[in-house]
């Protein structure tokens, strides 16, 4: 069964519509098909655009868009992950019980703490770690 249609009316600059009409003269499309294709392409492009996806994530965490919009754009898995993570912020973990005296490094690690620094040769390779 074909999908239900929704009528959309909008005003656009005459020059934009004239440019579109010139193209559809060549491609033999209708103006409507041309505009629908353009919208579909834009949706596909934005759904795969990392910057835009991050905008959606930010908007969801900030409460500017609801779960269904995030799900529509990011997919069920990613939207559900964010929902669970957002909900978890309000959860209070069990209280830490710090002892009066924290063991020294010598006691705790049975010696000095080893340290790491990239040597000059491997520096560029290790920067990304």
């Amino acid at each position: 069964m074909p999908e239900e249609k929704k009528r959309v009316d909008f005003n656009a600059d005459v020059s934009v519509i004239e440019s579109a009409d010139s193209i559809t003269e060549v491609t033999n499309d209708t103006r409507t098909d041309f505009i629908i294709d353009a919208i579909k392409n834009e949706i596909r492009k934005l759904r795969n655009d990392e910057d835009f996806r991050q905008e959606v994530v930010d908007a969801y965490y900030d409460g500017r868009i609801d779960h269904s919009i995030a799900e529509d754009i990011l997919g069920v898995e990613e939207a559900t992950r964010m929902k669970l993570l957002k909900e978890s912020i309000d959860r209070v973990p069990p209280e830490p019980q710090l002892e009066d005296s924290v063991p020294t490094d010598e006691e705790f690690y049975d010696g000095k703490v080893p340290t790491w620094k990239p040597d000059e040769r491997s520096k560029s390779a290790s920067e990304g770690t």
Binding site: L85, K86, P93, Q97, P103, V113, T115, P118, T129
Partner: protein
């Protein structure tokens, strides 16, 4: 020194916390390694002045499946930052309570969780454990952990726990601010989520 060594595993395998009085947490391999990394990282971008790894281990009663220590040992072979962090974790292994749960799970719980994570979930579901800490909050693994846990309210992330450790003065808020920035830059942690934690707990 009071450590996890003093915590006994009771007859039915449940954790007996009377001796320690601390909340019992299960952690997976990445949590241990990621908390140890800034401690050994001597580069200028690493946060300094505190030890989040030691702080976690003395503030809570930390339990791990044997396989987690196996994974840490596997990671300790080289001379890079991760290996050095793994060596540090091994030197504090006495402060961890380990559990052999290999026979309880024939194979990993599927859905893309590895053995260490699967066993950590089994421990949390089947022993008297208060909470599970994970670093896997940036991928769909976080979904799987939520699904696999019988009580998903027991699931907490490393940055959430780091923030909690500031509340009682176990870690300075300034250190945790620096550490969260360090992890965001080096581990690609979900910056927006970490930002919300900062606003909630550190400001």
């Amino acid at each position: 020194m009071e450590t996890g060594r003093e915590v006994q595993v009771g007859e039915r395998g449940n954790v007996d916390r009377r001796m320690a009085g601390k909340a019992v947490a299960v952690v997976d391999t990445n949590v241990l390694l990621n908390l140890a990394i800034p401690v050994v990282d001597n580069r200028s971008k690493a946060p300094t002045g505190e030890d989040p790894f030691k702080t976690l281990l003395v503030s809570y009663d930390i339990h791990v499946p044997d396989s987690v220590l196996g994974e840490v040992t596997d990671a300790s072979g080289g001379d890079d930052l991760l290996s050095q962090a793994a060596k540090l974790v091994l030197r504090a292994a006495d402060s961890l309570t380990t559990h052999d749960v290999r026979d309880e799970i024939q194979e990993p719980l599927d859905y893309g969780l590895d053995r260490g994570e699967s066993e950590a979930i089994w421990l949390t579901n089947n022993r008297n454990v208060d909470f599970l800490i994970t670093d896997e909050f940036g991928s769909t693994k976080y979904l799987l952990l939520n699904l696999a846990l019988e009580d998903r309210n027991k699931l907490f992330t490393t940055p959430h726990i780091l923030c909690t450790l500031t509340a009682d003065g176990a870690l300075h808020p300034e250190y945790v601010e620096e550490a969260l920035t360090y992890y965001f830059e080096t581990k690609s942690w979900d910056g927006k989520y970490v930002g919300l934690l900062r606003e909630r707990y550190l400001r």
